[in-house]
């Protein structure tokens, strides 16, 4: 019944070891294409799913730092902003450019991917910078540095003409598609799971549990912390890039510390360290406000009082957070994953190596 806290890659498997690394990707690509096709008639579902996907990427990536490594970062929106703006500016400038050897649509996707990667790498570079102080700073002090960093990014954007200042960047081509978003969701989840199942993941958990002991057992704690920040902010940057290409307007007001907090909420609500928990929480918290909207509509939102109802969502959201946290303080799944807590009759994940 008690499952190991750390997932381990499967050992008994029909897939030859050499293929195991890429196998999930090979499976995912056609599935995503199907998914994309199924959605083609429903712009709102596409939009909502994109938001959910971006939030999943954010939550899962933040979980690498906050959940696995036990560092307390509350500036994730800053990294997201870096990715969003860098890739956004790139796409705006390359809007009229196409690769001659490809059809226009394909060329756009290629350029978009490049823009995403550049944005992600820029965010990763920032993550490296922010990770460095973790050499000296612990806990809440590190948290406030990440927060400060996020705010600095916001101010920089707000004062840079190339980034559109307060108005933000508008008219970014809407290249983002559920296919792309969920491809990255897939990548980030896979990466998080594989990190968790490797010696790197164990080192991160060790840092979370006891930094002094980890260091004494030969874990380069600073190095690992910095790398956790780099990876986590890379994906935040990717999330930002995806976000910029479907909204498709970005504005400094979208990347405030309130946004960072929302991501932290997803991670904690899901259960610190639980990747599937972060996913479920991200889905739930994104759908919650929209669900309230549907509820109010069903109650007759065209009435006069109902016009005031939509703004009730935010305070209600706040109260719900309190209630949820009180009823499940360890997060949805604690540090475990969904298959560890689902009832037994569901197909269970095989025990891995350990």
């Amino acid at each position: 019944m008690e499952t190991p806290a750390l997932p381990v890659p499967e050992s008994r498997s029909a897939i030859p070891p050499a293929l195991r690394g890429v196998f999930p990707v090979l499976v995912a690509l056609p599935v995503l294409a199907l998914f994309q096709w199924a959605l083609s008639e429903s712009p709102f579902a596409v939009y909502l799913l994109s938001v959910i996907g971006v939030n999943i990427i954010l939550a899962v990536s933040l979980n690498i730092v906050n959940g696995m490594t036990g560092q307390f970062s509350i500036g994730h929106a800053g990294f997201m902003a870096v990715g969003a703006y860098i890739s956004g500016v790139m796409s705006l400038n390359l809007k009229e450019v196409a690769l001659s050897f490809l059809p226009v649509a394909a060329s756009d996707q290629v350029l978009f991917t490049v823009a995403l990667l550049v944005g992600g790498l820029a965010a990763a570079a920032c993550g490296f910078l922010v990770g460095l102080p973790s050499l000296r700073l612990r806990g809440d002090y590190l948290a406030i540095v990440t927060l400060g960093f996020g705010e600095i990014i916001r101010v920089v954007v707000q004062n840079t003409n190339a980034f559109g200042r307060a108005l933000g960047l508008s008219g970014i081509p809407q290249y983002s598609s559920p296919y792309m978003v969920y491809f990255w969701v897939f990548i980030v989840v896979l990466a998080a799971r594989r990190i968790a199942g490797s010696s790197h993941g164990r080192s991160l958990w060790a840092i979370r549990e006891d930094e002094v002991a980890a260091e004494a057992m030969g874990v380069d704690t600073t190095g690992y912390k910095v790398r956790a920040f780099v990876i986590s902010s890379f994906f935040a940057g990717i999330a930002g890039g995806l976000f910029a290409h479907f909204v498709p307007i970005i504005n400094p007001g979208s990347f405030t510390f309130v946004k960072s907090m929302e991501i932290v909420v997803m991670v904690v609500l899901g259960g610190l360290g639980s990747t599937t928990g972060a996913i479920v929480a991200a889905i739930f918290l994104t759908l919650l406000p929209e669900g309230m909207r549907s509820l109010f509509n069903a109650l007759g939102a065209e009435g006069s009082l109902a016009q005031k109802v939509d703004q009730i969502r935010m305070p209600v959201y706040g109260i719900l957070l309190v209630v949820l946290m009180l009823s499940r303080p360890q997060g949805l799944f604690g540090t475990r994953e969904i298959w560890d807590v689902l009832p037994r009759w569901l197909p269970r994940k095989r025990r891995g190596l350990s």
Binding site: P133, A143, G148, M261, L272, Y317, L321, M325, L326, Q330
Partner: protein
């Protein structure tokens, strides 16, 4: 020169308000190691309580000494009660749980209060800012030259209040039995209970004190800047929190010094450099301080005995 002096005074005045709010953060952090993200919003609620009282009292009464005292009393008591309720229902049940969970409920409370007060339903005030009535009639106390340098009565008053409160709190925390109990609870409330310390009561009292302090700070803030709005707690709260960290969170004089320094830094950035970069400089300064002194100006990073 005169301008420099004026900036100095402005900076100190702004810092004073940060200081009063920061003291509340520091106190709660001191006992619970909880960053009470709802603190700024409690302050906001306090200000609205004072606002309502001021209106109920009418123009005459509210600017009398009794009136002012009454406004402060209502707001501070009201907030103490609010603080008690928040602690009782949102934080206490999570005391044995991981620290981050309480942080999330704090965020939840913060959202509920700030966005809740933006509603224009029932007694809630609605989103638009209001002018806080003049309760302390602003008077110029020191004027140099052709109003080159002006010091206002409320600037001096709030500065004095901040200093007195700081000294008082420092005394409370380090010289009294209650303060000792607070510090014991902050380390390990289970063991503290073994000393006969009623931990729940100590924590509740700390919260009430810090919330009352927030209300007082908020009123001084509203008197100073005359404008009241539901999101005011968010902005002031964030800055005050930064100030508390600069000083070394959990450290009482540190909070005050950190706040004054932050106030001055912001003032001088705006006054002499580019006002657009104020927030960036403020946070940059914070990061710089932490890099040099990882526990803030006064805080000690508790040397962990291995």
């Amino acid at each position: 020169m005169a301008q420099l002096l004026q900036h100095l005074i402005n900076g100190l005045a702004a810092g004073t308000i940060y200081a009063l709010v920061a003291l509340g953060y520091t106190m709660v952090y001191g006992v619970l190691k909880l960053i009470n993200f709802a603190h700024g919003d409690v302050m906001m609620v306090g200000v609205y309580m004072g606002y309502a009282t001021a209106f109920a009292l009418g123009r005459e009464v509210r600017s009398s000494l009794v009136g002012v005292a009454l406004i402060f009393a209502v707001a501070m008591l009201g907030c103490a009660l609010l603080g008690f309720l928040i602690e009782r229902f949102a934080y206490r049940p999570l005391r044995e749980k991981p620290r981050l969970t309480a942080l999330i409920t704090a965020i939840g409370i913060s959202f509920a209060l700030s966005y809740g007060f933006q509603l224009d339903i029932g007694f809630l005030p609605g989103a638009s800012p209001r002018a806080f009535p003049e309760v302390i009639e602003p008077r110029e106390w020191i004027i140099i030259g052709d109003r080159d340098v002006v010091v206002w009565n409320w600037q001096v008053i709030s500065f004095l209040i901040a200093v007195v409160l700081m000294v008082g709190l420092q005394y409370l925390v380090f010289r009294t039995r209650f303060g000792r109990a607070m510090r014991a609870v902050s380390w390990d409330h289970r063991v503290a209970a073994l000393m006969g310390i009623p931990t729940d009561r100590v924590i509740a009292l700390t919260f009430m004190l810090s919330s009352a302090l927030a209300a007082g700070a908020g009123l001084l803030y509203a008197i100073k800047d005359t404008s009241v709005s539901p999101l005011m707690g968010l902005y002031v709260g964030l800055k005050a929190f930064v100030a508390a960290v600069i000083g070394g969170i959990g450290h009482v004089p540190g909070a005050v010094v950190g706040a004054l320094v932050l106030g001055l830094v912001e003032e001088f950035v705006v006054g002499y450099a580019a006002s657009t970069w104020r927030d960036a400089v403020a946070f940059g300064f914070l990061i710089l301080v932490l890099l040099v002194k990882p526990g803030g100006l006064f805080g000690r990073v508790a040397a962990e005995k291995v």
